[in-house]
């Protein structure tokens, strides 16, 4: 139950009231206070969500009359190579958005915390910086970085490994290249989250370990890692969601190309709804995407909770 703030008593200024009337006024206050959030939440989250589920059962071009589709829009997702590929690319992005940043972030955070280097605040800021820049801006910048005459290819050229086609235009490299932008962005968030977790670990554990002759890797494995399990869980949850709902990055860098090698579900939702005029397919995609994100996070959290015990 929601705690009723003391202000509620202001209504009944004066002598003490009976318990029942107090309870009633408390209930009224609760309802009044809850009404607005429920209304807003319902109007902008619940209602659209229900509407999307409803739309997914219709063939509709967004303009004319709709015809009942049953589960056809859903089976189409499974049968259409293009849409199926989009989901596979989304799953591949989880590796780049979630797993890789954690693998990089763990040692990075550990080093930043343990090294006690001067200018720690500066490094922390630099690592976190990608998080505060809009993805659209980043995407435009990375398009230039990945260009044929861009900095990455120039550096590769010094080692005689210059690419003859731009990363984003290559059927082999486009998906990893888009994914790496995600890695770069996520690493900052992950590192800062892990650092806050690591900062809580008492120094005495490490001192005891040192006395026992445990090396740095052992300390990391036996002390740091178990201590930040909760933070890792948060990181995985956040970054997985980001990976699966990626839209702006793909829209701005490759439009799903070359061919269909970097399409993702969210891009397909946009394309089907606003360009191709199949609102039903778009809605079905959106529902599946939502369920997928929800399921993956549920599994991550259940597994995480269980490990804790």
């Amino acid at each position: 139950m929601v705690a009723v703030p003391g202000v509620a008593g202001a209504n009944g200024a004066g002598p003490r009231r009976k318990t029942s009337s107090k309870r009633r006024s408390r209930a009224i206050t609760t309802v009044t206070l809850l009404a607005l959030p429920v209304l807003v939440y319902g109007a902008f989250i619940i209602y659209p969500l229900i509407r999307v589920v409803g739309l997914s059962f219709w063939h509709w071009d967004g303009l004319g009359p709709a015809t009942w589709a049953g589960f056809e829009n859903y089976t189409a997702i499974y049968e259409d190579d293009r849409l199926r590929a989009a989901f596979l690319h989304g799953l591949a992005l989880i590796f780049f958005f979630a797993i890789l940043p954690i693998l990089i972030g763990l040692p990075l955070a550990s080093m930043l915390i343990r090294s006690r280097a001067p200018g720690l605040g500066f490094f922390r800021t630099v690592v976190f910086l990608p998080q505060v820049i809009a993805m659209v801006v980043l995407a435009v910048a990375w398009r230039d970085i990945y260009a044929l005459n861009g900095p990455i290819n120039t550096v590769l050229g010094w080692f005689g490994m210059r690419m003859t086609e731009p990363f984003l235009g290559s059927f082999t490299w486009a998906l990893p290249a888009v994914g790496f932008i995600g890695t770069w962005v996520s690493t900052g968030l992950v590192t800062v989250l892990l650092m806050s977790g690591m900062a809580r670990i008492s120094e005495s554990y490490y001192e005891a370990a040192t006395l026992d002759g445990v090396g740095p890797i052992g300390k990391f494995w036996y002390i740091t890692l178990p201590a930040v399990r909760a933070e890792i869980l948060v990181c995985v949850t956040l970054t997985t969601i980001n990976a699966l709902k990626t839209f702006d990055l793909v829209y701005m860098t490759t439009s799903g190309g070359p061919g269909t090698s970097t399409t993702v579900p969210a891009y397909e939702v946009y394309y089907q709804a606003f360009r191709a005029g199949s609102v039903g397919t778009a809605a079905a995609l959106a529902v599946v995407l939502t369920l997928l994100i929800f399921t993956i996070n549920l599994v991550v959290n259940i597994v995480g909770e269980r490990e804790k015990k």
């Binding site: 229900i50 739309l55 059962f57 009359p65 709709a66 398009r143 190309g257 606003f274």
Partner: protein
């Protein structure tokens, strides 16, 4: 678990509401006020009213002509006030659907000719047939064949003939840009035939220059280049059927395979810049303006920008051949919605902004008028004048063929993907036409 219990409850509630929730299965109500019997070309006595116009003329000269014409219209008809809503092409594409079905729909809208826009508006009866007004104002005589670009059959199954649903202001064509001084340096002249052009390409490459430049990361630029090549191989009438997405043609012909093969060969021979599929469209034309590459196959819409960057050095020509065939078309036509308050006023507005006087204003502001373009070429900057002459030549002596991605609502993606695969050498010309054929025939069933 408490959370899951909540979600089960939520799901149940959702299902309950779901049964009562679906898109309007019945026909959208249209407030059709345009009584066909009362067609009138004189609106000076029309009651005082506001005309809501949605356009996408947001860039410099485009915006200027629109402002000037709107002002002139309101001066001429003080009883009409124009409320203009201008958005970029992309924004208009995405918002127009919602706007048309809303209660506050505009009277006049600029809608893309393609099946994915105008075609769907026609089939769902969101815009109105203008044949009566076409007769009253004599549009057919003035515009001629170009009206096919905004004509559909009533159920939108046929594109390119039937009822006229909109009028364009400007013309567009794909052609070849080049720098005069650069060709002179190489000891070359702009080729007179397609064979000459083909022969020049290896020569240019041997001289250490890039013969052709293209930036295709956004997928659509290659469609226009392919269109110019296809015009050399496939009969115009066939391209027209394929582009309009009408029945009666096939992608799987020797001519189309030959066109695809030539495109692929040009890439594999190294006649294009490296990494076509990953190169940025805007970056590439800017590089071209800075002296990279000899020929740029692109649309007339780049003329103003290239003129600014290269001045009198840049030229624009149609693909060299007798009776040239190339992709081209009109700017987005202005159409009247079913929600229009007064058809006569809306039609008078469309007539006004496409009149001969309006064409002069368009030319003055650096646009390519869809009518009598070559009359204005003399006063325009060199490359803009080239474009005006080219468009006029194409319409009168050549074959203007539609954008190939107009054929079906998803053709832009299908073709964009297929061309990127063709360019990368992932598919053969035969695979390429088979992919397009599948999309083309599927749309007809």
């Amino acid at each position: 678990m408490r959370t899951s219990a909540k979600f089960v409850g939520l799901g149940a509630a959702a299902l309950l509401v779901l049964t009562a929730c679906n898109p309007s299965a019945e026909d959208e109500e249209t407030t059709d006020n345009g009584d066909a019997a009362e067609v009138s070309t004189d609106i000076s006595d029309a009651p005082e009213q506001t005309l809501i116009v949605w356009d996408q003329e947001v860039r410099g000269g485009q915006n200027e002509q629109m402002e000037r014409l709107n002002e002139a219209f309101m001066d001429k008809y003080p009883n009409i006030t124009i409320e203009r809503n201008s958005q970029s092409f992309d924004d208009l594409q995405t918002t127009l659907r919602l706007a048309l079905t809303g209660s506050d729909a505009p009277d006049v809208v600029q809608a893309n000719n393609s099946r994915s826009m105008m075609g769907q508006f026609v089939s769902s009866k969101q815009i109105q047939c203008l044949d009566d007004y076409s007769e009253a104002y004599g549009w057919e005589d003035r515009f001629g064949d170009i009206l096919a670009y905004s004509s559909y059959s009533e159920d939108a199954s046929v594109f390119g003939e039937g009822c006229v649903y909109g009028l364009p202001q400007v013309g567009e064509t794909v052609g070849i840009y080049y720098s005069e001084s650069k060709l002179a340096e190489l000891g070359l002249e702009f080729p007179e035939t397609w064979e000459d052009l083909e022969a020049q390409l290896p020569e240019i490459a041997d001289a250490g220059e890039v013969p052709l430049v293209l930036g295709n990361i956004d997928k659509w630029p290659a469609i226009h280049v392919f269109g110019a090549i296809q015009g050399q191989y496939t009969p115009a009438e066939e391209i027209r059927t394929l582009g309009f997405g009408n029945e009666g043609a096939s992608w799987e012909t020797d001519e189309n395979v030959a066109a695809a093969a030539q495109f692929q060969e040009w890439v594999s021979e190294g006649y294009f810049n490296d990494g076509v599929n990953g190169a940025d469209y805007d970056q590439v034309w800017q590089d071209f303006a800075n002296g990279e590459g000899v020929y740029l196959i692109a649309g007339s819409w780049l003329a103003a920008d290239l003129n600014e960057a290269m001045g009198d050095d840049v030229r624009f020509m149609l693909p060299p051949s007798d009776g040239p065939t190339t992709t081209g078309g009109t700017g987005l036509p202005f159409a009247i919605t079913s929600a229009a308050e007064d058809m006569n006023v809306a039609a008078a507005y469309i007539h006004f902004i496409t009149s001969d006087e309006a064409m002069a204003v368009l030319a003055e502001t650096g646009n390519v008028p869809v009518l009598n373009a070559s009359d204005f070429a003399g006063d325009a900057d060199q490359v803009v004048g080239d474009v005006m002459t080219a468009f006029d030549t194409l319409v009168s002596d050549g074959n203007i063929v539609p954008y190939l991605d107009w054929a079906t609502p998803t053709m832009d993606q299908v073709m964009g993907d297929a061309l990127q695969n063709l360019i990368a050498g992932n598919s053969t010309p035969e695979d390429f036409v088979a992919t397009l054929e599948a999309a083309y025939t599927e749309a007809q069933n």
